[in-house]
């Protein structure tokens, strides 16, 4: 708890808080945190209740990547590179929707570890849809109604976007895999350039799950292949977290309030089939199934 946590205000079981603690411990606190507006900022940066034991800046919602580029370049010019890594800790909305400056960071390949803490919607403001909200999820801006059954369209493929920019290190992980987070963050720290790590972070309030089920839900996302845990170095797929016996997506969906509506109508069933298709595609694309 040296680097993060002194009185942060996250919900019990919050995936973000678990991920952040592991990220900072992996870097032994030798880092500069850039945190755009979102859940993490709200739970940690209130004036007088700062939960950060590392240098921290919350600029705006939409410019964390660029601010991180500025810090990274300033440290180089000022001869202070050895002070630590520049790390962005951004939400999925700040990354995949409004985070305009991410592509510039990739393009110029600044030495930054950009970490997207993906809880699959704008949770801080009460669960609105983002580009990383999965198909079929009911949010307050894509509610389940007579005509619409939650979010239309898949999660934006930020991994592919990072790879297309030639990022030297791209990985995904999950808040339920602390050792995996630590290993990947440590590895990213050793690589020069603009790195991208996306961490699946269960959200108890937004997803409608019990705090004690966070690990179970997080694991099911992996075991269904809905959240592939992968790692690329210089564009080459390095590791994939394999699954012995892949579980049907229903098992993951049915225990979360955000997907409950899908089980109550024939149209909802069709959406579940679509979601299963996404999982099957993921499994094939990354060779997730251990037996095949």
């Amino acid at each position: 708890m040296r680097f993060f946590g002194r009185g942060h205000g996250a919900c019990p079981g919050c995936g973000l808080a678990i991920a952040v603690r592991n990220i900072l411990e992996a870097l032994e606190g030798k880092c500069f945190v850039v945190n755009p507006t979102g859940c993490l900022e709200i739970i940690s940066s209130q004036y007088g209740r700062n939960a950060w034991g590392v240098p921290y800046i919350h600029p705006l919602f939409d410019n964390a990547a660029a601010v991180a580029c500025g810090i990274s370049e300033a440290l180089k010019v000022l001869g202070r590179e050895d002070e630590g890594e520049v790390v962005v800790l951004a939400g999925d909305g700040a990354t995949a929707d409004i985070g305009l400056t991410l592509h510039g960071m990739f393009d110029r390949n600044h030495d930054v570890i950009y970490i997207c803490l993906d809880n699959e919607a704008y949770q801080n403001t009460g669960h609105q849809q983002s580009a990383l909200t999965p198909l079929g999820e009911a949010t307050t801006t894509t509610p389940a109604g007579k005509l619409m059954l939650g979010k239309i369209g898949r999660k934006k493929d930020m991994v592919a976007i990072a790879l297309a920019h030639g990022s030297p290190y791209v990985a995904t992980s999950s808040a339920v895999l602390p050792a995996d987070i630590r290993r990947k963050v440590k590895k990213a720290a050793k690589i020069e350039g603009a790195k991208y790590i996306q961490i699946h972070c269960p959200c108890v309030t937004g997803w409608g799950i019990d705090g004690k089920d966070v690990v179970k839900v997080g694991n099911l996302a992996i075991e269904t292949a809905l959240y592939p845990i992968v790692e690329f170095e210089n564009g080459k797929l390095l590791t994939v977290r394999k699954v012995k016996e892949r579980k049907p997506v229903e098992e993951y969906l049915k225990i979360q309030r955000r997907f409950r509506h899908l089980f109550t109508s024939p149209e909802g069933r069709k959406v579940i089939e679509e979601i299963q298709k996404i999982a099957d595609e993921n499994a094939l694309r990354y060779g997730i199934d251990l037996k095949k």
């Binding site: 500069f32 500025g70 300033a74 393009d107």
Partner: protein, 388 residues
């Protein structure tokens, strides 16, 4: 070293002498040649301990400077018009975080309709950002203002962004003889940037915390106090500059013929034209003086009240408008002179690069003094609006 250079170069060269650590910009006419000059200096290794970054937008450029400045670097950018507006979210934020970023804004009109030509609408839109704004008359003043901007912005009693406003085209593209400063003059005047608070793992601090209602207001009061302190510190820095460089540009204002009955007030390059107008009118026996307003934020209320205490009539030359009200400088001036009773006539002219010939301006000022003019837009062709 006296040389005939363009406005772009007069700025770029002064920036170089101030030894910035991070220069970051996005091209926009009529600013681009400032950063092109700096890019060439960078490419030739003339900028020590400096990184030149090509951003993907003005929004990113300003954001990169926020990170760099928070990390303890001296920073520079130049922009205008749409670029300044695109930066605006970041610049309000930078002011709140008290980051002394220096910006040169080459004033240009705003779209729509698109116009690459000059007026002051862009910087006026940033009036309330918490950024110090100074308007320059010519390229020597632009050159001289750069080291002063850093010294003022970085003063620990101030710590606010500083925007030097110079007219696009009229100054940027103009060739003028400029006495380019020597490095040792700038070095003796401007100490290296060493902030008391910055991002470092050696002593972690947090920038940009969020403030609930019980504490937010105190931060904003602190900004206002910093602006008020800046007013005094600027006077001192201006005076010091006059000593160091041998060029005295005056304080927040320059008043020409202070004992006049009538005054014209304006900002920026049009002041040059007004100097001539005032001379000619005085030769015709008209009592008219000139107020060149250099500092727009902080607004020098007391200085204006003192300089204009005996004025009977004041003619404001505005090159921007607050739609639904009137010219921006006119609004500010009337507010500053509250309780005094000079007649104030304001003209909005020169929008989007519309030419303002000297004789036209002279007639306008003269007729205003003779009581033959009312406030409003001037120098446009009357037209019939078609409302479909």
């Amino acid at each position: 070293m006296r040389k005939v250079v363009r406005g772009f170069y007069s700025v770029a060269y002064a920036v170089k002498l101030c030894k910035p650590n991070i220069i970051c910009a996005y091209p926009i006419t009529p600013q681009t040649e400032i950063v092109e000059n700096l890019a060439l200096m960078y490419a030739n290794g003339e900028l020590e301990n400096c990184k030149y970054i090509t951003a993907e937008s003005e929004f990113a450029a300003a954001s990169i400077l926020v990170g760099a400045s928070a990390a303890g670097a001296r920073t520079f950018t130049a922009t205008c018009s749409q670029g300044l507006i695109l930066m605006s979210e970041v610049l309000f934020n930078a002011a709140g975080m008290r980051l002394p970023i220096v910006i040169v804004n080459t004033n240009r009109a705003l779209s729509a309709p698109l116009s690459i030509w000059n007026d002051l609408q862009d910087s006026m839109a940033l009036r309330d950002a918490g950024i110090i704004q100074v308007y320059v008359e010519n390229n020597q003043e632009a050159h001289d203002m750069v080291p002063q901007a850093y010294k003022i912005a970085e003063d620990k009693r101030v710590r606010l962004p500083f925007m030097i406003c110079m007219d696009g085209y009229k100054l940027t593209h103009a060739y003028e003889p400029v006495d380019l400063l020597d490095q040792n003059v700038v070095d003796s005047f401007l100490p290296p940037y060493s902030p008391e608070v910055y991002l470092t793992t050696k002593k972690p601090v947090a920038f940009g915390c969020y403030a609930p209602p019980h504490i937010y207001m105190e931060f904003r009061v602190a900004m206002q106090r910093a602006m008020e302190r800046a007013k005094e510190i600027m006077e001192k820095v201006f005076a010091e500059w006059a000593e160091v460089s041998g060029r005295n540009w005056g304080g927040h204002l320059e008043v020409v013929y202070p004992d006049s009955k009538n005054f014209v007030i304006a900002m920026g390059s049009i002041v040059g034209l007004l100097r001539k107008v005032v001379e000619e009118l005085r030769n015709e026996g008209i009592s008219v003086g000139l107020v060149k307003l250099r500092t727009f934020r902080p607004f020098p209320v007391q200085e204006l009240r003192k300089s204009l205490e005996n004025a009977e009539k004041i003619i404001v030359i505005d090159r921007s408008v607050s739609f639904g009200y009137e010219g921006n400088l006119s609004i500010e001036l009337k507010s500053a002179l509250y309780g005094m009773s000079p007649e104030v006539i304001s003209f909005i002219l020169g929008l989007g690069g519309r030419d303002v010939p000297k004789d036209f301006l002279k007639e306008l000022v003269k007729n205003a003094i003779l009581g033959k003019e009312k406030s409003g837009f001037r120098g446009f062709k009357e037209f019939e609006e078609v409302i479909p």
